[in-house]
C-alpha cells in the first residue's frame, strides 16, 4: 500500500517537475539580436525598435540601434540608460523587485516564487502572472514562448492593456571580453 502511494507521489512530483521545467529558457550567458514592438491601445501603429543584447549572469545589456541608438543596462541594483556612447549611464529606476524580475525574465530565469505559471495551449508557451503587487502594477501578464533552441518571444501586458512584444534571437553563447565589459556599469 505504502509502495503504491509512494509511486503515485513520485509520478505526481515528476509530472509537476516536467510541467515547470524552465531550464531550457535559462541563459547563463549569451548574445544576439532583438526586435521590440510596443502596442499602445490609443495608437494606431506600434512603436518598433531593434538592436543587440548581451546577457551574463542576470546582467542584461540592451542596445537599441534603430530607429534611435540607446543603451540600457538591467542590473540587480538598478536600470541604467544612456543615449550617447561616451556619456555616463543615468539611472532610470532602483526598484530592486522590478529590476531583478525584468533581468530574470530576459535571461529566462523563471522562478515559481515570482510568478503564477500556467502552461499555454501551445506547448512552447507559458503564461506568467507576477506574484508581487509592485511588479503587477507594471505588467499584469507575461507570455513567454521558446520558439526553438535560439529564439524566444516575450509579450508584456500592462494594466492599461498596452502590449510590448519582444523577440530575442540568440546568436552565440560565447562572450568576448568586450561583451563582458558592456554588461558592467563602468561609469
Amino acid at each position: 500500500m505504502l509502495n503504491k502511494l509512494a509511486l503515485v507521489l513520485l509520478f505526481f512530483l515528476s509530472t509537476q517537475a516536467a510541467a515547470n521545467d524552465f531550464t531550457r529558457f535559462k541563459v547563463a550567458q549569451g548574445k544576439g539580436q532583438f526586435s521590440q514592438a510596443k502596442h499602445f491601445t490609443f495608437l494606431k501603429r506600434a512603436i518598433k525598435s531593434q538592436g543587440n543584447f548581451v546577457i551574463h549572469d542576470q546582467h542584461v545589456y540592451w542596445h537599441t540601434l534603430s530607429p534611435v541608438r540607446s543603451e540600457m543596462l538591467l542590473l540587480p541594483n538598478g536600470i541604467y540608460r544612456r543615449l550617447e556612447p561616451k556619456k555616463a549611464y543615468e539611472i532610470l529606476t532602483q526598484d530592486k523587485q522590478i529590476n531583478s524580475l525584468l533581468a530574470k525574465l530576459l535571461s529566462g530565469d523563471i522562478n515559481e516564487s515570482d510568478w503564477s505559471i500556467t502552461a499555454s495551449n501551445d506547448e512552447h508557451c507559458y503564461n506568467l502572472i507576477p506574484k508581487l503587487e509592485d511588479v503587477a502594477a507594471l505588467f499584469t501578464n507575461v507570455n513567454l514562448c521558446a520558439l526553438d533552441e535560439s529564439q524566444r518571444s516575450i509579450v508584456l501586458t500592462d494594466q492599461q492593456n498596452n502590449k510590448t512584444e519582444i523577440m530575442m534571437v540568440f546568436t552565440s553563447k560565447e562572450l568576448t571580453k568586450n561583451d563582458m565589459d558592456v554588461v558592467k556599469l563602468t561609469h
Binding site: V68, M72, L92, D95, L102, E133, D158, Q160
Partner: protein, 780 residues
C-alpha cells in the same frame, strides 16, 4: 563664639533644623514643580540653534518621538491581518496612545497623474528642459523615443494619451515615490517582503500598525507600558507556533530599553558598591555603629543630591542617576575621616572632630570647586552630575560635622589599634617617599605623556557614547528595508516668508545638491520641490514647451505617433501650493512641510550621508537654508568642550593652588597640585591605550581624579604620613575604587570609560599623594 565651638547637642539641633527645612522644601518641590526622568540619551546634548530652527527641529523631534511602527508579518495575508488586529486591540489598552490600523487610500498611479494633468506643460525634468533649450530636434526626438521604448516605467502609458510630448512622463520618471511599498488592501496598509526559505524566497505580507503617543514627547511610563505590551503580544503568538513575526520601532522601545538597563545597572552597581564599602568598614572599624553611621551619611547625601536635582532641573536624564552612584564613594570618605579620627585618635570630648575640621572643609572646597566648574559646561548631563554631587557632598559634610560629635561617645570607648596591614602599608609608603623620582625625571615623564595624549584619537560622536539593544537596531533596519524608508536623521531646512519663496529657495539648491550627490556627499534626497515646482518654475517650463512646439521640435515624434501638427495657444494654469496639498501625492509629504509664525519651512530628507561637513559648507552659502545635523552639531560641541576641559583643568588646579599657596607657600602648593595632575595624565594615557581612543567621558573623569587627589593631598599635607591618614586614605581610595571599578562593567560605553579612567586615576593618586607629607609641618 564660632559655630564650631557649639556643643554637640546644639550642633545636632542645627542639623535637624536644616534637614527639616530641606524636607519641607523637597515636599514643596514634589507637590508643585514638575519633574521627570527621561531616558532619551539624545536629550543630554543641547545644541545651540537659531530660534526658528530650534522651533522646527523641536517639532520634528517631537513628531519622531511620538511615532511608533509595528509590522505584523505572515505568509498568508489574511493571517497577517488577523494578528495585526489582535495586536492593535491589545495596544489600544494603553492609556495615552492612539493606535491606527485602518488607513485611507494610498495614491495610485492613475490618481497621481490625474492631479497633475490639468496643468499642461508645467512639469518638466531638468534634462528635458535642457534639451528644449538647446533646440536640437534630433536630440529631443531621441530622448522622447527612448522614453517611449523603455521597459520598466508605467508613467509613459499613463500620461501619453494626454501628454504626447512625454514631458510629464519624464517628470514622473525622475521621482522617487515615497513609501510606495505599502499598498492599501481593504483599509489595511500592507507591504510585501521576501523571506529566505531554503534556496528560494517566499513572499510575506506585513500589516502596518502605527501608534502615536497623545502628548508631546514621550513619557517614560508610557514607553515602558508600550514595550511591556509588545513583549506580551510577541509571547502570546510565538513565531514557531503561528508563523507570525513582529517588528517594532520607535522611541518608546529605545527609551524603555535604556531605562531598564540603567535601572538594572543602578541597582546592581549601587548594591555591590554599598555592600563592598560596608564590608570594608566592618573589617577596619569592627563596629556595627560605624556601618550604620556611614550608611546614614550616604543616605543623607543622596537626599541632598536628589533635592538639588529637583530644585534646579525639571528633567533629569537616567544616565545622571547611573553616574550618581559615584557619590556613594565620595560621600563615604567624610565618614571614614571622622570614624578614623574618633576610633584611632585620642579625641577632645567636647569637640571630637576638631583636628580634622580644617582638612574636611579644605577637602570639601577643593572637590566642590572641581565639580562647580562642570556646572558651566554646555552639556546638561555634566551639570546634573555636578549639582547632584556638590549638594550630596554638602549634605555629607554637614552630617559628619554636626551629627558625629553627638555619637562620638558611642563610637569612642578607647582608641583602637590600627590594623597591622595598614602599618605595613604606611612603612611601604615611607620607603617609596624616600625613593621618589627627582623633579627632572618627573617633568620629563609629564612632557612625554602630554605629548602622547595630544596625538591620541579623540572620539566625539555622541552615538559612540551609548549602545542600543542589538535586537531593536535590527528591527529598525528591517522595518526601513520593508517600507523602503531609510532616510537619515540629518536634514536640510529651507525657510521662506511664503510657500512660493520656500519652494523657489529649494529649487535654487537643486544644482548644488546634484553636485554633492555626484561627489558622494550623500546618495539620495527627497524634497517637496521635486514634486511641486514653484509657480515661477512652472511658468518657465510652459514657456519652453510652447516655444519648442512653435519651433517644431516635437514634429518627429508627432509623425511617429501619427498626431496632427496643430499649434494652438492653450490657456495655461499652474499648480499652487494649497491645491497641491490636497493632491494624492502630498499626503506622503506631510512630515516635510512646517508652518510656524507665518514662516514656511520645507524639510529636505537625505539618505546615505557620507560627508556631512561638505554638505554644511555648501549650504552655508544660501540664505535661510540650514543643514540640521544634531549628531554633527553635538560632536562639534563635545569636541569644543573637550578643548575647554583643558581650561577647566587649569582653572581647577589654579583654584586649588591658590588655597594651598595661602596655607603652605608657593613651592609646596605647586607640589600639591602636581600630584593629582600627574595621576590624571597617567590615567588618560592608560585609558587611551585600553580603549584605543578617548572620549569626553575620560576627560571629565580627569576632573574627579583632580578633586579626589587634592582631597588626599590635603590630608597628607595637614596630618603628615601618619598611620591614621594612611588608613583613611586607603579606605577612601578602596571605597572609591569599589564604585568606579564597577562602572567599568556598564553596558553604556560612556559610563564604562568614565569608570575606568577614575579607577586608574584613584590608584595613581593614592600612590603619589603621600609626597605631600614633606609639606606638612607635622611631617613623618
Amino acid at each position: 563664639m564660632t559655630w564650631m565651638s557649639l556643643n554637640s547637642r546644639t550642633k545636632l539641633l542645627l542639623w535637624g533644623l536644616q534637614l527639616l527645612i530641606l524636607l519641607v522644601g523637597l515636599s514643596y518641590l514634589w507637590l508643585f514643580k514638575p519633574f521627570a526622568i527621561v531616558a532619551d540619551i539624545n536629550q543630554i546634548f543641547t545644541v545651540e540653534q537659531s530660534e526658528d530652527v530650534r522651533l522646527v527641529n523641536d517639532k520634528v523631534e517631537q513628531q519622531q518621538l511620538r511615532q511608533h511602527v509595528m509590522l505584523v508579518g505572515h505568509k498568508k495575508r489574511s493571517n497577517a491581518i488577523k494578528y495585526a488586529e489582535q495586536a492593535a486591540l491589545a495596544l489600544s489598552d494603553i492609556n495615552g496612545i492612539e493606535v491606527n490600523i485602518h488607513f485611507g487610500a494610498l495614491p495610485e498611479l492613475q490618481s497621481v497623474v490625474k492631479d497633475y494633468l490639468p496643468y499642461k506643460y508645467a512639469f518638466l525634468s531638468e534634462k528635458y528642459k535642457h534639451l528644449l533649450q538647446n533646440k536640437t530636434a534630433g536630440a529631443v526626438f531621441n530622448y522622447q523615443f527612448s522614453l517611449l521604448n523603455e521597459m520598466g516605467s508605467p508613467w509613459v502609458a499613463a500620461t501619453l494619451p494626454s501628454d504626447p510630448n512625454l514631458g510629464l512622463a519624464d517628470f514622473f520618471n525622475q521621482q522617487n515615490v515615497p513609501s510606495m511599498k505599502l499598498k492599501n488592501y481593504q483599509g489595511y496598509l500592507i507591504a510585501q517582503g521576501e523571506i529566505k526559505n531554503g534556496s528560494s524566497d517566499d513572499a510575506i505580507y506585513y500589516v502596518l500598525i502605527n501608534f502615536v503617543s497623545a502628548n508631546t514627547g514621550l513619557d517614560l511610563n508610557i514607553a515602558k507600558d508600550i514595550a511591556t505590551k509588545v513583549n506580551d503580544i510577541k509571547k502570546q503568538s510565538s513565531e514557531e507556533k503561528s508563523g507570525v513575526n513582529y517588528f517594532v520601532t520607535g522611541a518608546a522601545f529605545f527609551t524603555a530599553d535604556a531605562s531598564m538597563t540603567a535601572q538594572n545597572e543602578m541597582t546592581v552597581f549601587g548594591s555591590i558598591s554599598i555592600i563592598a564599602t560596608l564590608l570594608l568598614i566592618v573589617v577596619i572599624y569592627r563596629s556595627a555603629l560605624s556601618v550604620f553611621c556611614t550608611l546614614f551619611v550616604i543616605s543623607i547625601s543622596m537626599l541632598y543630591g536628589y533635592s538639588a536635582l529637583r530644585l534646579f532641573f525639571t528633567e533629569v536624564n537616567i544616565l545622571t542617576l547611573v553616574f550618581a552612584v559615584t557619590l556613594i564613594g565620595i560621600a563615604a570618605d567624610y565618614s571614614f575621616h571622622a570614624l578614623s579620627e574618633l576610633r584611632f585618635s585620642k579625641v577632645d570630648r567636647f569637640n571630637p572632630l576638631r583636628s580634622i575640621r580644617a582638612s574636611l572643609l579644605l577637602g570639601f572646597i577643593t572637590t566642590t570647586v572641581g565639580y562647580l566648574i562642570l556646572v558651566f559646561t554646555p552639556l546638561v548631563l555634566f551639570k546634573q552630575i555636578a549639582v547632584f554631587t556638590m549638594a550630596g557632598l554638602l549634605g555629607a559634610l554637614l552630617t559628619v560635622l554636626l551629627v558625629y560629635p553627638s555619637i562620638a561617645s558611642f563610637i569612642v570607648k578607647k582608641p583602637s589599634a590600627i590594623p597591622h596591614f595598614v602599618i605595613q602599608l604606611n612603612n611601604w609608603q615611607q620607603v617609596i617617599l624616600k625613593k621618589r623620582l627627582n623633579y627632572w625625571w618627573q617633568s620629563c615623564f609629564l612632557v612625554i605623556a602630554i605629548a602622547a595624549l595630544s596625538m591620541i584619537n579623540n572620539v566625539d560622536d555622541p552615538r559612540t557614547f551609548y549602545k542600543s539593544s542589538a535586537s531593536l537596531v535590527t528591527q529598525q533596519q528591517k522595518i526601513s528595508e520593508i517600507l523602503n524608508a531609510q532616510w537619515d536623521s540629518p536634514y536640510i531646512l529651507v525657510a521662506g516668508d511664503s510657500s512660493q519663496q520656500t519652494l523657489e529657495r529649494s529649487e535654487q539648491l537643486a544644482e548644488d545638491l546634484k553636485q554633492l550627490q555626484q561627489n558622494n556627499a550623500f546618495t539620495k534626497y527627497s524634497s517637496i520641490s521635486q514634486w511641486l515646482p514653484s509657480i515661477a518654475m512652472q511658468k518657465k517650463s510652459q514657456a519652453l514647451m510652447l516655444q519648442a512646439e512653435n519651433d517644431g521640435l516635437f514634429n518627429q515624434l508627432k509623425t511617429l505617433l501619427e498626431l496632427p501638427y496643430t499649434r494652438n495657444n492653450p490657456k495655461l494654469t499652474q499648480l499652487d501650493f494649497p491645491t497641491w496639498q490636497k493632491s494624492q501625492i502630498a499626503h506622503l509629504f506631510t512630515d516635510q512641510w512646517v508652518e510656524i509664525n507665518s514662516r514656511y519651512y520645507s524639510i529636505i530628507k537625505l539618505q546615505g550621508i557620507n560627508d556631512p561637513k561638505m554638505l554644511e559648507r555648501t549650504l552655508n552659502n544660501y540664505k535661510d537654508v540650514v543643514f540640521v545635523d544634531k549628531v554633527l552639531a553635538v560632536s562639534e560641541q563635545v569636541g569644543l568642550f573637550r578643548h575647554h576641559l583643558i581650561l577647566i583643568y587649569g582653572l581647577a588646579l589654579g583654584a586649588a593652588m591658590l588655597v594651598f599657596w595661602l596655607r603652605y607657600g608657593l613651592l609646596n602648593a605647586f607640589i600639591a597640585v602636581s600630584r593629582p595632575a600627574i595621576a590624571m595624565v597617567i590615567a588618560l594615557v592608560i585609558s587611551a591605550w585600553f580603549f584605543d581612543s578617548l572620549s569626553v567621558f575620560n576627560y571629565v573623569a580627569g576632573i574627579l581624579i583632580l578633586a579626589l587627589g587634592l582631597d588626599y593631598c590635603v590630608f597628607y599635607a595637614e596630618h603628615g604620613l601618619c598611620e591614621k591618614i594612611t588608613l583613611t586614605t586607603l579606605i577612601s581610595a578602596l571605597s572609591s575604587l569599589f564604585v568606579f571599578a564597577i562602572l567599568i562593567f556598564s553596558s553604556t560605553p560612556a559610563v564604562s570609560q568614565f569608570g575606568f579612567t577614575v579607577f586608574i586615576g584613584v590608584v595613581m593618586v593614592f600612590i603619589m599623594a603621600p609626597r605631600l607629607t614633606l609639606v606638612s609641618k607635622r611631617n613623618i
